[in-house]
Amino acid sequence: MDIETPQIISDWREHAAEVKVYIVGFALSILLTLTAFVITIAHILSGWEIVAVLIFLALIQLFVQLIFFFHIGSKAQSKWNLYIFLFMIMIVSILVIGSLWIMTNLNSKMMPTTKQMIQYMNSQGAAL
């Protein structure tokens, strides 16, 4: 797939990288997705290990996409793109992790314990 030399290049050109950068990025994403897929299908890990590995793979793929497709931090883009992106990532992680921490804490304090559930089910059973 040869891209013969183009006659006119618009000065947007430096905003997109070379074709091979896209190919490498694409290959890496496919690879990462397949590894995540295989690990889940094989059920070799369980519980928090699989969660940690999957999150790790997703983060790598995030960086791959950012560098190969978004060219984040490249000189073509102003540095403000990167600053706002990092600020957003910080706030989003505070919100998501904060919410999860709060909600699991609230649920553990308030959801009726399994003991009560069983006792209720027996009383239900008896009532039938």
């Binding site: 891209i3 013969e4 183009p6 006659q7 006119i8 290049i9 618009s10 000065d11 947007w12 050109r13 905003h15 997109a16 070379e18 074709v19 896209y22 190919i23 990025g25 694409f26 994403s29 496919i30 997705t33 397949l34 995540a36 897929f37 889940t40 299908i41 059920h43 890990l45 369980s46 699989i50 969660v51 999957l54 999150i55 793979l57 997703a58 793929q61 995030l62 996409q65 950012l66 497709f69 978004f70 102003s78 403000w80 793109n81 706002i84 992106f85 957003m88 706030i91 989003v92 919100l95 998501v96 919410s99 999860l100 909600m103």
Partner: protein, 200 residues
């Protein structure tokens, strides 16, 4: 498909308003990230509340979702290549690559609609439990965004086909490809957190 465009278009300059518009669109993408982060937080909190209904592993089929993901990933790739040929002012290549992207995008959306329809027919609709409500809303919002992107792509291709690679069209192509790559990243997280963790 003649390689050299007959009417050689004067290559559009990248001036200050383009820079502001692309930067403004980038900030819009950041706000969309926060929107999806809120939906992910809701899904993460509610995914165990199945209220007696099916849990993730019972309703997700891994192979189906893998095909969807590969379709979206490759559409993101073809979109990138299409953008490069747009910057090289090759109109026909642009239309070629972006129609491939369009087809892959449409197939992704159709597969998703089929999956939703199947779930609803079986009775696991969004009314059934909080888990299913948050699943439908998270994946549905992403599907909605992809559909909006596809409509935008269609309109842009028609405009490029008729008026050629004008200054605004090249800028809009850049915005469209930014949006498309952004949707691809969101789908990676949906694929990992919703489907993979649901199945594992």
């Amino acid at each position: 498909m003649e390689d050299i465009d007959t009417q050689i278009q004067e290559a559009p300059k990248y001036d200050k308003t383009d820079d502001t518009i692309v930067f403004g669109f980038w900030i819009y993408l950041m706000t969309d990230c926060v929107l999806f982060a809120a939906l992910f937080a809701v899904y993460a909190v509610l995914h165990n509340n199945t209220f007696g209904g099916p849990s993730g592993s019972q309703i997700f089929s891994p192979h189906y979702v893998l095909i969807e993901t590969l379709a979206l990933l490759s559409s993101s790739f073809t979109c990138g290549i299409g953008l490069i040929s747009a910057y090289n002012m090759q109109k026909n290549r642009v239309i070629g690559w972006f129609s491939v992207t369009f087809l892959l995008g449409v197939s992704f959306v159709i597969m998703e609609i089929v999956e939703f329809a199947h779930l609803i027919n079986v009775g696991n609709s969004f009314k059934r439990s909080a888990f299913l409500s948050s699943y439908f809303t998270l994946v549905g919002t992403h599907g909605l965004h992809v559909t909006v992107g596809l409509i935008g792509m269609l309109i842009l291709m028609i405009r490029i086909y008729t008026k050629g690679l004008t200054k605004s069209s090249v800028r809009r192509l850049t915005l469209l490809s930014l949006f498309w790559h952004f949707l691809d990243i969101i789908w990676i997280f949906i694929f990992t957190i919703v489907y993979m963790m649901g199945i594992a």
